[in-house]
């Protein structure tokens, strides 16, 4: 009886781990797409609205879902507090703190960090160029992420169950 219960537990845990890994692969392209949407929105705010950066980031945070929105909120908060951070420092801090909660990887983080070092310090045309470049790079990452998703998502889902089954068989 106890053996059966243990086997069920192992199967359950294995399946869960597999699904969680698969979910990470599914989440990455989705979050990359949301990030791209956010940057497009920023493009509009800068290009047409001339909205000041902290306010623009706050607005973006209201239209994209949570782990992505938090990145922008953190960056806006960093300059709102009076601790002498420059925008680049605040942005870097936000990208490092908030990144943990997302399914995104180092490649896209590097894109965002590069963007942060250019945001706010030049005229409109230059800002839009930097945003376009970042969007292109994110697009490339998104394509790669989709490929990974197709390849690994199903694999992880079945792999979790199969490994759990293997462990159960070995134990019996």
């Amino acid at each position: 009886m106890i053996k059966l219960l243990g086997a069920v537990l192992i199967l359950f845990a294995g399946t869960l781990i597999g699904f969680q890994q698969a979910a990470r692969f599914a989440a990455r392209p989705r979050q990359l797409r949301q990030l791209a949407h956010a940057l497009q929105r920023l493009e509009t705010e800068i290009g047409y609205g001339h909205t000041p950066l902290p306010e623009a980031l706050g607005r973006i945070a209201t239209v994209v879902p949570s782990p992505i929105a938090d990145l922008f909120l953190l960056a806006a908060e960093g300059v709102a507090h009076d601790d002498g951070l420059s925008f680049r420092e605040s942005w870097e801090q936000a990208m490092k703190q908030g990144w943990e909660a997302t399914a995104m990887r180092a490649g896209e983080q590097a894109v965002m960090l590069r963007l942060g070092s250019a945001l706010g310090i030049s005229d409109k045309d230059d800002q839009l160029k930097h945003l376009k470049l970042a969007l292109l790079q994110l697009k490339a990452e998104e394509d790669a992420a989709k490929e990974d998703q197709g390849r690994y998502e199903k694999m992880w889902k079945s792999l979790g169950v199969l490994i759990a089954v293997l462990v159960v068989i070995l134990m019996v």
Partner: protein, 358 residues
């Protein structure tokens, strides 16, 4: 005065300024920051350099020198981390921040087919701390009353930079708007609708269209709007009885003011000029005075004792600039004399009478 702009300053700069003696900070009017060069302060018209140890120096030796990093941080803060949103301001060479403080910028200009498109490599900042002096027009306003219309005459206020023109017109707008015409015959009159064209955002210091200075309950502000267009827009849309504009000087400003004053609207405007003769040397001002767009001229001076006004009727100024009546009024009790520059070398002693505007 420092606490009004301290939120704009990078921490290092703030630390240096906060070490200065209280009395000096109370007199602070300008903070001039130049990259790699001594930090200069303007204290009631006097120039001093700030040392790292909280001393004020007459000479630049041993004064604190802001680094390039501090200047970049300062620029970020005054532009709200958004240089791209400040293109118009950079073209004009200054930024007005919340509270009405004006920050002048200098650096390498970017040209676009011969005209200035903006400034990059900004290496010098001049933070002018705005001050709202409620009641600064109290002594002047009763002298400008137009009894027949229960309003104010069209008035041109002349003074060199840094003499308190903006402070004065702001208080005039406020008083007229509230209906605070002072003691005497104006006492019972009601307030008038005032339209302010605030091209430099200095009179009302609007933040997102809402004035941060008290400019009265009957006042509408056209913020960051070119004066000529703003005056016409206000005339068409807000039916003002008095239009207030700061620092007129271009041809189109003159056109708009002429239009307004002949539409029965009183215009209160300021211009950079040392005195009436100086103003008559500027074609736009001369034409405005000649065709009667302004009925009165106020020369403004700031002395150590306070503001001094001299009211001259436009008619007499045009007729014989040299022989105008010296009707000066002191807002602060003082016995300073009021000298005039120009061709006439003899200083004109001003009467200190409080009534009898010409």
């Amino acid at each position: 005065m420092l606490n009004r702009v301290v939120h704009l300053l990078p921490l290092e700069l703030k630390a240096v300024l906060e070490k200065l003696p209280e009395t000096a900070l109370a007199q602070l009017e300008e903070i001039r920051i130049r990259e790699g060069r001594p930090l200069e302060l303007g204290l009631r018209g006097q120039s001093r350099f700030a040392g790292t140890d909280g001393t004020l120096r007459m000479t630049a030796d041993g004064a604190y020198k802001p680094t390039g990093d501090i200047c970049r941080k300062l620029l970020e803060r005054i532009t709200n981390y958004s240089l791209y949103a400040m293109e118009e301001e950079l073209k004009r060479g200054f930024i007005t921040v919340a509270g009405g403080h004006r920050i002048g910028l200098a650096g390498r200009t970017v040209l676009d087919s011969g005209s200035v498109r903006g400034i990059r490599d900004i290496g010098a900042f001049n933070i002018r701390i705005a001050r709202e002096v409620i009641g600064s027009a109290n002594h002047l306003l009763p002298k400008l009353l137009d009894r027949s219309r229960k309003s104010i005459y069209s008035t041109l206020i002349l003074a060199p930079p840094q003499q308190g023109k903006t402070t004065l017109v702001r208080d005039l707008a406020r008083s007229i708007s509230y209906g605070l015409w002072g003691q005497g015959e104006g006492a019972g009159w009601q307030g008038r609708k005032v339209g302010v064209v605030d091209e430099r955002s200095e009179i009302a210091a609007c933040v997102r269209g809402i004035p941060t200075f008290d400019i009265g309950p009957r006042t509408d502000v056209m913020d960051a709007c070119p004066k000529a267009e703003g005056i016409m827009m206000l005339l068409r849309s807000m039916s003002p009885e008095i239009v207030v504009a700061d620092e007129i000087g271009r041809d189109e400003d003159g056109e708009a003011i002429r239009e307004a004053s002949h539409a029965g609207v009183s215009v209160v405007a300021t211009a950079h000029a040392y005195d009436v003769q100086d103003a008559l040397g500027r074609p736009v001002l001369r034409r405005l005075l000649e065709d009667g767009s302004f009925q009165q001229i106020v020369e403004l001076r700031r002395t150590t004792a306070g503001f001094m006004h001299r009211i001259i009727s436009a008619e007499s100024a045009i007729r014989s600039p040299a022989a105008r009546e010296p009707t000066a009024v002191l807002t602060a009790a003082s016995t300073s004399t009021f000298r005039r520059s120009g061709a006439d070398p003899a200083p004109v002693e001003s009467g200190l009478q409080r009534g009898g505007a010409t």
